[in-house]
Amino acid sequence: MFMRNAEYLAILAAGLFFLASTNSYTQTPNLGMPIDEQDIAAWDIDILPDGTGLPLGQGTAGEGKIIYEQKCAVCHGVNGEGGISPALAGGDPLSNGIDTGKTIGNFWPYATTIFDYTRRAMPWFAPRTLTDNEVYSLTAYLLVLNDIISDEVVMNANTLPEVRMPNRDGFIVRFPERTP
């Protein structure tokens, strides 16, 4: 029996596909279960420097100061001066030495990182218990402590990514050829 041309070509194409495959396996079990982004929302908490991921809500430094003194000062000290945990405000010029203490004001390049880390990881004893409004308020307070914004500025999904951090241009990519 001769195969019809179409059948022959189909088998040939399958063979070429096999050869072109770089893995020694032509297939994986394909056991990943499809999931909707909305079902991932509770885990999808990262905030990007351009503000992607910032939730609704808002806050100011006045509200943040109250929360800070209740939940943060025990480790980070009054006014962010540091304690058992690192200082968050002030700090020496980075030219003082390679071991200069890093604070939000003297080092952090993006304000979005403050929101991201505070929401995902703080307070250490009860992470992810702060409301989004509380995180915005704490972010505003920490920026005020570092003289980056003024007292009355409201932090929300629009204003936070616009905050220009003092050390934004203080970095050199170590291996540019390995970094997209």
């Binding site: 885990w43 945990s85 990881a121 203080g170 970095f171």
Partner: protein, 438 residues
């Protein structure tokens, strides 16, 4: 005709460097017989001839071997040192005791661990790994489903970006190899290549980065270039043949071979493909070392070529003149180790060490070299090269480029990161070994 593979006799080829270092080929080649008496570092007193008789443990049956073997009770002091044993609200570190180990793989109970809030008690049946973001179809995987994928086993070191941080001190800290270099270990990791899972989800052409995130209380996350993820990243499920230890990410961790330990995210639960780095606190702040003048390196990622001598080293004092083996480990994020040189005179003259086979990429390579100690003061150093042509810089080269701490730090401080210079062990006439700069 095959000859027995014996190290009882080192075949002398004459000195290869000053102060008693022999050529590495003394291990392998024939020639005149060198004195065979090996001298150990830990012998409390010289052996004396005595009449042998049955020892107490030989007179009756021993204890049954248990379901999970425990080491000899005489080895119970081979332990990690811990910086935060009570779990205070800060990072906790456990250092590998390199001076008590040999070979290239770190036993699972002694693998270094750094965690920010302890090890979560994860039920493997409930654990989920989700892959989403810039993919055609977000997917969720169970451990059971991952177990059905084709797996690979690879030997790789994992090193904290802050390992060797005490070497930034302007004065040498009085510390041993565990204190100075304990945040690096090496294991055989088995698991599923991340590229397999990403291809199943379908990579959007705009994706350039991904974040990996853990299910620890701090939901630690790091940004990783997609190119690295597709090159050799793995979802590791096994460590030296058994399931991951809790401190190393049970039931699954990301392995990004040769890159900062912190990027090898443990207790992995989420991978999101992105068009930009997330600038998590760890890439934005923690692992961005400050340079002299005040700028800082960003995205250092690679753990560059490094080596250190583990025997002799502080705590393993010499036991009289004679022949010793100098031994240590070398490794690089840029591939295989190609050469290790050892000096016994503080870096003035060097001899090439033998590399224990197999020499594997991004893994510990054990080096060894015979040394005749004549009882006079000596300073031992090692210096490694990798197959990409990189060499361990001297300490003065590092200080010139990267600076040093403005004050003497504590042993547990992290004045900066990514120190990969040499380490010097000074041996005095009494045989005591001390960390020095040379």
């Amino acid at each position: 005709m095959n000859k027995k593979d014996s190290t009882r006799v080192w075949k002398g080829l004459g000195p290869a460097a000053e102060n008693g270092l022999f050529d590495r080929r003394a291990f392998f080649k024939g020639g005149s017989v060198l004195a065979a008496a090996m001298t150990g570092y830990t012998i409390a007193k010289p052996l004396q001839a005595q009449t042998l008789s049955d020892d107490p443990w030989s007179g009756s049956a021993g204890t049954p071997s248990g379901p999970y073997e425990a080491r000899s009770r005489f080895e119970n002091d081979v332990v990690r040192t811990m910086t935060n044993p009570n779990g205070e609200p800060r990072s906790q570190q456990s250092r590998t005791p390199h001076h008590m180990l040999d070979g290239t793989f770190t036993p699972n109970g002694l693998h270094f661990v750094i965690s920010r809030s302890g090890s979560p008690d994860i039920d493997p049946e409930q654990h989920r790994l989700v892959i989403h973001g810039l993919v055609k179809q977000p997917l969720v995987f169970t451990l059971e489903s991952l177990m059905r994928y084709p797996m690979v086993s690879r030997m790789h070191f994992v090193e904290c970006g802050g390992n060797s941080a005490p070497m930034w001190s302007p004065e040498p800290l009085d510390a041993d190899v565990q204190g100075l270099h304990g945040y690096v270990s090496c294991a055989e990791w088995s698991g599923v290549m991340l590229s397999t899972l990403l291809e199943e989800a379908g990579i959007d052409p705009t994706a350039k980065w991904l974040i990996a995130e853990g299910s620890d209380s701090l939901a630690l996350h790091r940004s990783i270039p997609l190119s690295k993820a597709l090159d050799d990243a793995m979802i590791a499920l096994y460590q030296n043949g058994e399931k991951l230890m809790p401190g190393n990410g049970y039931p699954m961790r990301l392995l990004v071979p040769g890159w900062e330990g912190n990027m090898n995210v443990k207790w992995l639960r989420r991978i999101e493909l992105l068009d930009q780095p997330a600038m998590s606190i760890y890439e934005a702040r923690t692992y961005a070392p400050i340079l002299p003048g005040g700028k800082a390196y960003q995205f250092y990622f690679l753990q560059e070529v490094k080596s250190f001598i583990t025997r002799p080293s502080p705590g393993l004092s010499m036991n009289g003149q004679g022949l010793y083996e100098i031994s240590g480990v070398a490794y690089s994020a840029n591939g295989r180790i190609s050469k290790v040189l050892v000096s016994a005179d503080g870096g003035q003259t060097w001899a090439e060490a033998a590399l224990q086979e197999p020499v594997l990429s991004k893994a510990f390579t054990r080096f060894r070299i015979p040394w005749q100690w004549d009882g006079s003061p000596a300073v031992l150093q090692s210096r490694a090269w990798d197959e990409a042509g990189h060499v361990q810089p001297t300490r003065s080269e590092i200080v010139a480029a990267r600076g040093e701490a403005s004050r003497v730090p504590s042993l547990n401080g992290f004045p900066s990161q990514h120190y990969n210079g040499p380490t010097s062990w000074q041996i005095d006439q009494a045989g005591e070994v001390k960390h020095v700069y040379a």
